[in-house]
């Protein structure tokens, strides 16, 4: 469903951010994207949601070929994805509920269907009681839940999360991670970029590791090495 084949990505003034990266992520999979800062994790996600053009190689995302994407296809691609960031990216002057509804309104959903769908996802992320709260009235963990609810409300096939727990303390991290696992359990693929190796070790999910733009390890094809490295 997401397929990278010999992908290179060069930024105008930044050199090669990705070098010959290939992998395939199937429907319903949970994948960790790891690597040091600057390794290219965010860049991989940006290529998936067509924020950046591919320099060479092929990127396919749920039927779209990045190289053939016309500008007006980009919104259609993004409606099939849910995207979550470290900094939440909520609109400060709208309530939790309105932030989630926003994603539906923007895509032209039937107005009468919006309130029920919004409440359903807010309930799913455990924030139904705070639907009327503004972002500044919510904790970081709660804000991230709103962002996840917004990402889910269009029923995406993949949830992309770029260090979703980067700004959260341990407890909130565990909560948000559990939420992502639940979402994955109900059939949505999750691609999560993270630094948090504890989190990665905790769960039996596939790991793709990048180093200076190159894919150096993919647990789906390489020997398991965590066990080999640590006693």
């Amino acid at each position: 469903m997401i397929k990278f084949t010999n992908v290179f990505k060069a930024f105008p003034k930044g050199g090669l951010a990705l070098k010959d990266v290939s992998f395939h992520i199937a429907k319903g999979e949970f994948v960790f994207l790891t690597g040091h800062s600057g390794a290219g994790k965010s860049t991989v996600l940006k290529l998936i949601y067509a924020e950046q053009p591919v320099t060479s190689g092929e990127v396919r995302v749920s039927g779209f070929n990045a190289a053939e994407l016309r500008p007006r296809d980009v919104p259609m691609l993004r409606r099939r994805l849910g995207i979550v960031f470290q900094d939440f990216r909520l609109l400060e002057d709208r309530t939790a509920e309105e932030n989630v509804a926003f994603a539906l309104e923007v895509t032209g959903a039937r107005r009468s269907s919006i309130p029920a769908r919004v409440m359903r996802v807010l309930t799913q992320v455990g924030l139904a009681a705070k639907a009327q709260a503004y972002p500044r009235e919510l904790s970081g963990g709660e804000q991230q839940r709103v962002a996840i609810a917004r990402a889910l409300v269009n029923e995406p096939t993949v949830l992309l999360a770029d260090e979703p727990t980067g700004n959260l303390d341990e407890r909130a991290t565990r909560g948000v991670f559990q939420l992502l696992r639940d979402i994955n359990a109900s059939g949505t693929a999750v691609v999560m970029a993270t630094h948090d190796l504890d989190l990665v070790r905790q769960a039996p999910y596939r790991v793709i590791e990048l180093q200076e733009g190159a894919l150096v390890y993919d647990s789906a094809v390489d020997e398991p090495r965590d066990q080999a490295a640590s006693p």
Binding site: R78, R89, A103, V106, N154
Partner: protein, 285 residues
């Protein structure tokens, strides 16, 4: 309520200062254009009044039979440029002179013979009241055998012509200049509004909003601001007009059509100003 309408109204509430600024700049730009428009309207009226008096007088040889004159009068009225041709007999010329030149009444009274010739006064249709046509008609009048002399205020007609051309050129240039300034200003204020909401625009794009969807509220908002600016400009012009009327000269105001055109122009400026700045923003990010 429609989402586009709601979003554009929300923008007014969220950025009241910026919105007020946009409306005011449009209002003042259009006001200046409007003032020049008013001057043009009044100048046009004034010129029309002067042009009204553009007249060609053909003095007749003494003793020309009245039948000949009547026939010729018919011919002259049939000229395409001519509105009316009226015969003024020797007697009525004298009567007129007596009425108009009160100071010389006594002199005129004592005359034994009427020294004033009869004449045909020719008035042209409004659109032919310029130097070229006046000359043409005068030449043709000279062709009649019984016409002694043809007079018209040559300098006057030519000056009027020049004045008209200058007024039109100045009005056009100044109007265009201010329209351009208005477009630049509204473009800039809308650009500020766009930048202020760039975070929101980025989020909209992230969740799959099309550019058209993002653009629409800005366009509507621009058109509304332009309309409000246009209305304010008309109110300002009306204020200026009332003052001028009271203290200076009797002037004319815009016709209903001209007022509608000003508001419509404001809407166009707002719409295209927004379209330009939103378009640029969307292409860049």
């Amino acid at each position: 309520m429609n989402l586009t309408v709601r979003e554009s109204l929300i923008a007014f509430r969220r950025a009241p200062l910026l919105s007020a600024l946009s409306v005011t700049t449009i209002a003042f730009s259009l006001f200046v254009v409007g003032l020049f428009g008013l001057v043009a309207v009044n100048l046009q009226d004034a010129l029309r009044g002067v042009a009204e008096r553009v007249e060609i007088v053909a003095y007749l040889l003494p003793g020309t039979p009245i039948e000949t004159v009547t026939l010729a009068g018919k011919d002259i009225e049939a000229f395409p440029e001519v509105q009316s041709a009226s015969y003024v007999s020797e007697d009525s010329a004298l009567g007129r002179a007596r009425a108009e030149l009160v100071e010389f009444r006594d002199v005129l009274q004592e005359l034994e013979r009427n020294p004033l010739p009869a004449s045909i006064e020719v008035k042209l249709k409004p659109r032919f009241r310029d130097a070229d046509h006046v000359n043409q008609v005068a030449d043709r009048l000279r062709g009649f055998g019984f016409v002694d002399d043809v007079r018209f205020g040559r300098d006057w007609v030519e000056k009027l012509d020049r004045l008209r051309q200058i007024a039109a050129a100045v009005g056009l240039v100044v109007g265009a200049a201010f329209a351009v300034v208005a477009i630049i200003i509204i473009g800039t204020t809308i650009r500020m509004a766009v930048l202020q909401r760039s975070r929101e625009i980025a989020i909209m794009r992230l969740v799959g909003a099309t550019d058209g969807f993002i653009r629409r509220p800005f366009l509507l908002q621009g058109a509304i601001k332009g309309m409000l600016g246009g209305l304010a400009a008309i109110a300002l012009s009306y204020g200026a007009y009332t003052l001028i009327n009271r203290w200076l000269i009797h002037a004319a105001f815009f016709s209903k059509e001209q007022a509608v055109a000003i508001v419509g122009f404001g809407m166009l400026i707002g719409f295209f100003g927004s379209a330009a700045s939103v378009g640029r923003h969307l292409r860049r990010v």
